[in-house]
């Protein structure tokens, strides 16, 4: 295990922001820490880096305990040997690109020649060799980002920590850099934690995603699991777009009934919960098909429900319709042009109907 976090607690005064969370990373694993602002994801990252002192629990990096306040262990940030990329890049304005990248090496008293070689290697990885003598103020945002990346990996750290590193880049550059970060991390085979509030970023980059809310881990798993089988309403809402239909149980655990009496079949029975079994049905907007009310109903055991279009937003590649169906409003994407306020038929497979426990708060 590269990183093991166990029962990590962090509070500011009486305000507890991380509530005894635990997770671990394998060698070379890329884990996305996803959540809305204020969920404790950045605080968790900073506790691992040693920039914040945890109040409880343990953190170990490659088997070495670096934070265990109960036993008086609190290794300072500078002796944890991590590589970190900051949201604002934190490129020191008074040093050249080469000096910035070489800093982790010179601070370890490495010889001049070796520093130069390693800096050259790191700058080569991010394609910035020819800008080595520049000052940060002469670089674009994307270039500063690359310098930050080179600086994070140059010292061959035990783990890589990313604190929303792409949020200050424009959309196109962001997509390219995502792939680049992932390629670099695979090549170096270092465990990486990537903090972000952008679910697309987390899903596309991570081997595994940890979703956090208000200092708790809400769900943890591979991106596909998270999207297809969210454990609760929060994850369903936060990861991707989701619509919910009110449903009540029937005698058949695979059949549920909407308030207006339509039966919806699901592929899997509801997960056991402590919340008394109250459920909602989640449908992703791309999973449902829309057809005019006049069209023939679909077969293959698909759920078919009558609905009515109440809103339509044209988005280029598709149109997002809001459909009133079974007493709920659902969002459905469709390439077809349908009349506003017209009656439609909504159909989706039982495997695309996911039961989600209704949260109690």
């Amino acid at each position: 295990m590269s990183i093991v976090v166990k029962d990590l607690v962090k509070s500011y005064g009486s305000n507890k922001v991380v509530h005894a969370i635990s997770f671990s990373l394998e060698q070379g694993e890329f884990v996305g820490l996803l959540g809305p602002s204020g969920c404790g994801k950045t605080t968790t990252l900073r506790c691992i880096a040693g920039l914040e002192d945890a109040n409880g629990g343990t953190i170990s990096i490659e088997g070495e305990v670096v934070s265990d306040p109960a036993n008086g262990i609190m290794r300072p940030a500078h002796s944890r040997n991590v590589g970190m990329v900051f949201q604002s890049y934190a490129i020191w304005p008074h040093m050249t690109v080469a000096q910035n990248v070489g800093f982790p090496l010179t601070i370890r008293k490495m010889g001049k020649k070796e520093v130069a070689e390693r800096v050259d290697w790191a700058l080569g990885i991010v394609g910035m060799q020819e800008l080595a003598a520049r000052l940060p103020s002469q670089l674009s945002g994307g270039q500063q980002q690359r310098v930050a990346l080179a600086r994070a990996v140059v010292g061959q750290p035990r783990v890589l920590l990313f604190d929303e590193p792409l949020s200050n880049l424009d959309a196109k550059l962001r997509d390219a850099t995502r792939a680049e970060i992932r390629r670099l991390q695979r090549q170096l085979n270092i465990a990486a934690i990537y903090v972000t509030h952008d679910q697309a970023e987390a899903l596309s980059m991570s081997d595994r995603v940890i979703v956090m809310d208000r200092g708790h881990i809400m769900q943890e798993g591979p991106p596909k699991d998270l999207y297809r089988r969210p454990a609760n309403r929060f994850v369903a809402d936060f990861v991707g777009v989701a619509s919910f239909v009110e449903v009540m149980p029937t005698d058949d655990s695979l059949a549920w009934r909407t308030p207006d009496g339509t039966t919806i079949r699901v592929a899997e029975p509801a997960p056991a919960t402590s919340a008394g079994g109250a459920m909602q049905l989640m449908v992703r907007p791309e999973a449902a098909l829309l057809s005019p009310a006049s069209a023939a109903p679909a077969g293959d055991g698909r759920n078919v429900l009558p609905g009515r279009i109440v809103e339509a937003s044209y988005l280029g590649s598709h149109t997002e319709y809001v459909v009133e169906m079974g007493g709920s409003r659902v969002r459905i994407h469709s390439g077809d042009d349908l009349e506003h306020e017209s009656d439609v038929i909504v159909s989706f497979a039982p495997t695309d109907a996911q039961l989600i426990p209704i949260s109690r708060d």
């Binding site: 604002s88 008074h94 103020s137």
Partner: protein, 579 residues
């Protein structure tokens, strides 16, 4: 998901009809008149004394005495005496600036970046020291450290060590100037240190740098330009400084340019022409230094430290704890507490005695002050000049900032340049310039309080524009534009939008000027008459007559008033603290 934000079904009330915005053009014409008046006033304030000085430096006789054109005054600048004075001035200014920059930055770093336990106490004490008038500080240190002072009485008399402290020396002058200037460095470094984006240091820590390395390789280099800028400003203030070198230098015949100018005007052989040339030389040096400071700031833009001031992890002092305590409390003790105690002690004695058990204690110094009509009138004069003068200064500073930053009418660059210029002109030089000018101008200002107001406002105009303008540039242009779009004219926008938003800085500037005027001495030295004496001059006169008791008593009262005014500021307007 589908909550309506805009409820389009709501109808406008029937009674609401469209009404054209008020016609602001007429009132905006008033603004043009105000601009012209502001412009002319600033030009007159700044250019008249400078022009008079140039005129005076080219004349053979004193102000209003006729004479002929000559260059001999500039030739005399090259004489051995004057060159020696210039070198002494540069040496004292340079040494003080370097030492003050180091100590002030160290204190600011200790207070704001470490786990030092009494940051608020040291901030308060240093703030008080900043407002402790220089001439009072110098007097206290004369009582303490002169050949016949307290230190020598203890060291030689009591302990029997044959070592003589002599504050009447170049090191003595530098020592007292450092005590006076460190608070300035501290206050100017506070902002950059607290405003520094903590992420740079965090990145260094994450990159493996231990605390001292973070300080050496990231924090200090990032602060480098701020330290340099603060050091140069300190240098300027030192060579402009009049009271400390006059009090400490005169007995030991150590002259700097500012004191030489004064001696040339007040003691035989009087030579107003040479004094004017010396004043121009002094202004040239400060002008050069200001240019250097500006280019430092321009270079600093390359490596600007911007960003949010995050939660910064305090550096643990560890074994550096005691040196830090000694530096911070030692400084506060020498610059504020000890001098204050000595002044109170001296003010309570009939005749000065170094031995507190041998002294004859009395309150008669205080009763004398209250019963003396001339001292009381100097009190009232000071209050009038400070209270009204600061109002004039702030009004002018606000208008100058408004026009140069927001309106930019024709000629605004001149306004900007001229309003900043007096910073390079020492107070005593402005005094001499006005002395020359009003000997010829038909305005009967000489011998009135008004000429003091003119001198003070001119000298401190840059402080007012800096304080108010500093906040005004940060006000988003769209706030004004929104008002214009809503139908407000420029004048209404100024009154209803800009002034309320800028109010904290206007208040801050008023108090800043009030305090500066209250303790100003250098520009008053050549302009006061017995009817227009101010407190600073009265203290000075008592001291010159070797009347240490009354000088101390009056100093204690003046200092108390300053400190009370300062607490009022902090209490009244918490927002103005930053300025």
């Amino acid at each position: 998901m589908t909550d309506a934000v805009v409820d389009s079904s709501r109808q406008a009330p029937e009674a609401m009809t469209r009404r054209p915005p008020p016609n602001g053009a007429g009132r905006d014409r008033i603004l043009n008149v105000v601009y012209v008046i502001t412009w002319l006033t600033v030009v007159a304030l700044v250019l008249i004394p400078i022009a008079a000085l140039v005129f005076g430096s080219l004349r053979t006789a004193g102000p209003g005495e006729g004479g002929e054109w000559t260059l001999k005054n500039f030739v005399a600048l090259g004489s051995e005496g004057v060159v020696g004075t210039i070198l002494t001035t540069l040496y004292i200014g340079g040494a003080t600036a370097v030492i003050s920059a180091v100590i002030g930055t160290a204190i600011a770093l200790i207070v704001h970046r470490t786990d030092f336990r009494f940051p608020n106490l040291i901030t308060a004490l240093t703030g008080l020291a900043f407002y402790f008038p220089s001439f009072i500080l110098a007097m206290a240190w004369i009582i303490i450290g002169s050949p016949g002072g307290i230190l020598n009485a203890i060291v030689n008399g009591v302990l029997g060590i044959p070592f003589k402290f002599d504050v009447y020396s170049v090191p003595g002058i530098i020592f007292v100037m450092v005590l006076h200037q460190v608070p300035f460095v501290y206050l100017t470094m506070r902002g950059p240190i607290m405003g520094m984006d903590g992420v740079y240091e965090e990145a260094a820590r994450a990159a493996g740098a231990p605390p001292l390395q973070v300080l050496r390789r990231v924090t200090l280099p990032l602060l480098g330009y701020s330290v340099a800028s603060s050091g140069i400003l300190t240098f300027i203030m030192c060579i402009e400084q009049f009271a400390i070198p006059a009090l400490l230098g005169t007995p030991g015949r150590i002259t700097v340019l500012a004191t030489q100018l004064y001696l040339l005007c007040r003691f035989d052989p009087v030579d107003y022409g040479l004094a004017a040339a010396v004043g121009l030389a002094l202004s040239a040096i400060t002008g050069l230094a200001i240019w250097a400071q500006r280019s430092v700031i321009t270079n600093a833009r390359l490596t600007t430290v911007t960003g949010k001031a995050g939660r910064l992890a305090p550096i643990r002092l560890g074994r550096w704890k005691w040196p830090a305590y000694i530096l911070c409390f030692g400084f506060s003790f020498l610059a504020l507490i000890f001098p204050a105690i000595i002044l109170i002690y001296t003010s309570l004695q009939r005749y000065f005695s170094s031995n507190p058990f041998d002294a004859a204690y009395t309150l008669r110094n205080y009763t004398f002050i209250i019963e003396s009509p001339s001292t009381m009138s100097s009190f009232w004069n000071t209050l009038i000049v400070s209270g009204l003068g600061a109002l004039v200064g702030v009004a002018l500073g606000f208008l100058a900032s408004y026009f140069t930053l927001r309106q930019r009418p024709t000629g605004y660059r001149w306004l900007d340049l001229l309003a900043a210029m007096p910073f390079g002109v020492p107070g005593i030089v402005i005094g001499l310039g006005l002395l020359w000018a009003y000997a010829y101008l038909p305005l009967p200002l000489y011998g009135t309080l008004a000429i003091l107001v003119v001198a003070y406002v001119t000298r401190y105009l840059p402080y007012a524009t800096e304080t108010i303008g500093g906040q005004m540039v940060q006000i988003d242009k769209s706030l004004e534009e929104a008002a214009w779009v809503s139908g407000a004219g420029r004048l209404t926008t100024l009154r209803r939008v800009l002034l309320p938003i800028a109010l904290p800085s206007v208040q801050g500037a008023y108090f800043l000027l009030f305090m500066a005027f209250f303790r100003e001495i250098s520009s008053a030295m050549l302009l006061y008459t017995s009817a227009t004496s101010v407190i600073s001059v009265s203290i000075w006169s008592f001291f010159e007559q070797a009347n240490w008791g009354e000088a101390s008593a009056l100093s204690v009262i003046a200092t108390l008033i300053i400190f009370i005014a300062m607490s009022l500021i902090l209490w009244l307007s918490p927002t103005s603290r930053r300025s």
